[in-house]
Amino acid sequence: MIAIQIDDVDIGALIAAAKKHGTGAVVVFDGVVRDDGITEMELEAYEEVAVKELEKIAKEAINQFGLLHVDIIHRIGRLTVGENILIIIVSAGHRPDAYAGSRYIIEEIKKGVPIWKKELTRDGGRWVPGEHGHGKGHG
């Protein structure tokens, strides 16, 4: 499941579904709205392009690390502290591939998927600067 969506997901159910034949390790990354003195976070995506980018990243991770299953769910809209922003679930035969594949996916998402976050505070809001000045090529 690759999705950009408002709704949260049931991580337990996704883990169960990720246990494809041959799975020995499942790694879940759950990115959460951190309490940095904010009231809420607002997320926005260039959805059509972001979904395609996520699909491309998932495919690359599957090829590169021999993953047996990949889910990437990136939420948009208004989220409060502690809510899930991004859930990545990968399964592999062995743990090194599961960890490396999971890490690869999050780093690629940070680099090049058109999604933006605004931290809302009592005084207003602030767009979170990207980790990379330039975004990766999307072409």
């Binding site: 395609k52 998402i109 680099k111 058109p114 999604i115 933006w116 990207g130 000045g133």
Partner: protein, 92 residues
């Protein structure tokens, strides 16, 4: 000829989004964005530098494909194109 311009994040707050605009045949990417951005000084300053060039961090797309800043002045837009202009991404 109609094209759609989508700004995102900070640019969207200043300049709006899903802007449908009529363009003359042969219109290039950079002047199109320039003309739209001119409507809002803060929006213009967010996207362009003092010399009228895109800030080096701006990301451009045409129909979901990246257009390099250095190619924008010579990239034509045609009827039905979707143009996207956005600041560095911050997902995850």
């Amino acid at each position: 000829m109609t094209v759609k311009i989508r700004f995102f994040a900070r640019f969207r707050e200043l300049l709006g989004t899903d802007i449908m605009t009529e363009v003359a045949p042969g219109t290039m990417f950079t002047p199109l964005i320039t003309s739209i951005a001119r409507n809002n000084p803060a929006g213009y300053a967010a996207v362009f530098d003092e010399k009228g060039a895109f800030h080096e961090f701006v990301i451009l797309m045409k129909n979901g494909k990246r257009v390099e800043l250095s190619d924008a002045a010579k990239t034509p837009v045609i009827d039905g194109d979707e143009i996207a202009v956005f600041p560095p991404v911050a997902g995850g």
